[in-house]
Amino acid sequence: MTDKNQAMTDTHYNFAYLDEQTKRMIRRALLKGLAIPGYQVPFASREMPMPYGWGTGGVQVSAAVLTPEDRMKVIDQGADDTTNAVSIRKFFERTAGVDTTERTAEATVIQTRHRIPETELTEDQILVYQVPIPEPLRFLEPRETETRKMHALEEYGLMHVKLYEDIARHGNIATAYAYPVKVEGRYVMDPSPIPKFDNPKMEMAAIQLFGAGREQRIYAVPPYTRVVSLDFEDYPFEPSKADHACDLCGAQNSYLDEVIVDDAGGRMFVCSDTDFCTTRRDGGHVGRLGAPGTEDAA
């Protein structure tokens, strides 16, 4: 405990940056969100020392749930080493002094942007999403007064109009990310821009919290909650991914990033979840272009 308190005084910030009153306010919003799965709870979002769009909502939610004993992991598009992930991880290292990790299984709080980790999460973990636009109906119905009414009265026909338009224009449901889901048979929710490949994973053991800083909304999915992706009877929902195996670790079932490797059309597919990929390579799995356990495999 003492070294944690040391970290506090070092930085002249309250533990995890936010003052206790703010955290209390956010926790109340979180509890309400958990009580009504999928319902967007308004909260008084604070200015954070980073721009909107960088995860101000997620950071506030993380700050409100962190305890000094937590071990935190931050991912951005599945990766631990991109700008957004690194800066947010550093932010909490400095302002909260918590331990951080890149191992999904070892983390207790995971803040994520646009991915759910491949490793199955457990009841001891909290997954915090950064949400740019919490309102799934926004681009169909721009009036917030109207969309709130539609949520309240469960009028979700419009959401299917979007899917109808997809099929009419592309021949299949072309929405590949931020794919709308219905939570526990009631609220239609934007799962944040995760690929639809991740949608089935949302029925998980961990607590899922969603924070949208600019839009000032918090919502949540409690553990083991039913999360159904919307679809048509004759065009059922399909979680899709690139039809390849990871070129580094050979995984067949993970979500892949396509990487252009030269200007002659060369490309490779790698796991977007870096921790998953590293763990597999350390375990001796090798892909088409990979070498086991080395850093610069390609």
């Binding site: 169909l140 009414k149 009265l153 009028e155 026909g157 419009l158 299917h160 109009v161 109808y164 338009e165 099929i167 009419a168 224009r169 048509f232 009877e233 004759d234 065009y235």
Partner: protein
């Protein structure tokens, strides 16, 4: 026979000004009623009160619901009223843009009401949309075009298809032919008359165009300054106007 819509002593005030007052009538199934009057006479206010868009300050609007019989839509709960608005009612706006989703294809526009009442089979929805586009004379190959690629007349026809696809029993129309040129108007009126007769719809049509009500309406209500000044069968009112204002209105029609 129970009336489909029973309006009792409706009044709506805008502060001290009268929107409309002392309006009452019965509308029976299959009947088309016209409301005419000059601009500012309260006809649109009245229509919005009847369709639940505005809350009247006084009076009752009783609608013959499928489950509970006559029910006051003014005191009805909002979910119930909105349910009615997307099943048993239809509202055709003067400007098609107000009644359509301009960013969504024609098929999507027609399908929206179907999906709103629970249709979840793409093939069926699309087949119905195409069927309805055919009925309002929009060719099948335009089903994936957006309404902003349509002419004014087509937009208006699309709006009508979108409204009628769920088989409503009561249609509210606010100047359905306003802003269209006369030849397009004539075709639209022809189409509307066909649909109304074929489906046995009841309708309330607000317009300032006497030719429209002559063609479509069985009964006529003439409004002036928020009051109803004359009612009766359409032909009777137009051929033998009693009130001074109705006489003025009838004599103001330009003859070609």
């Amino acid at each position: 026979m129970t009336p489909l819509l029973k309006v009792k002593d409706i009044a709506k005030f805008y502060g001290g000004r009268i929107g409309c007052t002392d309006v009452g009538f019965d509308l029976y199934p299959g009947e088309v009623m016209g409301i005419v009057g000059e601009s500012g006479s309260g006809k649109s206010t009245l229509l919005n009160c009847l369709a639940g868009h505005l809350a009247p300050d006084r009076g009752q609007v009783l609608f013959d619901t499928r489950t509970d019989g006559l029910k006051d839509i003014v005191t009805m709960s909002e979910p119930e009223r909105r349910m009615l608005a997307r099943t048993d009612w239809a509202f055709v706006h003067q400007h098609a843009r107000d009644g359509l989703r301009m960013g969504v294809s024609a098929g999507g526009n027609v399908g929206e009401r179907l999906m709103a009442v629970g249709a979840r089979h793409y093939g069926d929805i699309r087949a119905q949309a195409i069927d309805w586009l055919g009925r309002v004379e929009i060719p099948e190959d335009r089903v994936d075009d957006r309404p902003d690629a349509f002419s004014g007349g087509m937009q208006q026809r699309l709006q009508i298809a979108r409204n009628l696809v769920t088989g409503p029993r009561l249609v509210f129309m606010d100047e359905p032919t306003g802003g269209l040129d006369v030849s397009v108007q004539a075709r639209l009126l022809d189409l509307l008359r066909g649909l109304v007769r074929e489906m046995g719809l009841s309708a309330i049509i607000v317009t300032h165009d006497l030719a429209v009500v002559r063609l479509l309406a069985d009964r006529l209500m003439v409004m002036k300054s928020g009051h109803v000044v004359e009612t009766g069968l359409t032909d009777q009112v137009l051929d033998d106007p009693q009130h001074a204002y109705t006489q003025l209105l009838v004599s103001s029609v330009l003859q070609v």
